[in-house]
Amino acid sequence: MPTAEEAARVPPGQRLTKGWPILHAEGIPPFDPATWRFRVTGAVERTAEWTWDEFRALPPVTVTSDIHCVTGWSKLGNNWEGVPFREVLDRAGPSSAATHALIEAPSAYTANLPLDALADDDVLFAWSHDGAPLPPEHGGPLRLVVPKRYFWKSVKWAVGVRVLGRDVRGYWEERGYHNDADPWAEQRYAWQESR
């Protein structure tokens, strides 16, 4: 049984899970630290690129946050280590036109978010979960973590950010899922957006 404090952290329509379910629509991409690159492109002052070693040398933070999956499970108290999104973006310098971003995985998978949301203190590119390297099935070597949105926005196997001057829907957002995906407002599906 969850404590009252834990129960208060579970959004409507969600249930707690003890494990960590593995969900993804695409296969796990291979990871070679020698060839891996992370790029910030689009509406930026300068395209930024990091090798794996360079990315890991960025100043790390740790964040503890909850996961809420649109399929209905929540997992509380996840300890992440990585680099804040805004630290990555600042190295490229968003242009004055920049408002949104698409986070990119090696496959066609993307998720879109406003830069304001990505600038939150708890948003990071994580390489570690609960003190261990992030396993490939959970998005390792690197995934975005956006705790205030349903977890599909937390792109697994992240390799880039495309900064945009307008909002462009990502993979699931194009497939009928909510553009904003706030679990506390139960924003699961696109048809709710016109309400």
Binding site: L23, G27, I28, T71, R175, G176, W191
Partner: protein
Amino acid sequence: MLAGMEARPGPGEVWDLIRRADEFVKYSPNRDPAAARAQARRQLERAAEAAAALTDRAARDALTEQVRRRLDDLDRAGDRADG
């Protein structure tokens, strides 16, 4: 409702079929991915049939497009698995 007349699915029921197909795909890493894709495809074929019967044209077109997009995704996933 008249006896013997089945209820016609509405857009919500069609979307629910599509959403369940998505869950077969999302959870496929935990089981046989080819079998999961086959289940998703069957679910989407049911959704396509139900969508075609919708009288609301906008909903019919939108849901048919969502089904088509997912069937294309499944075709590409199958090609990658085969290749």
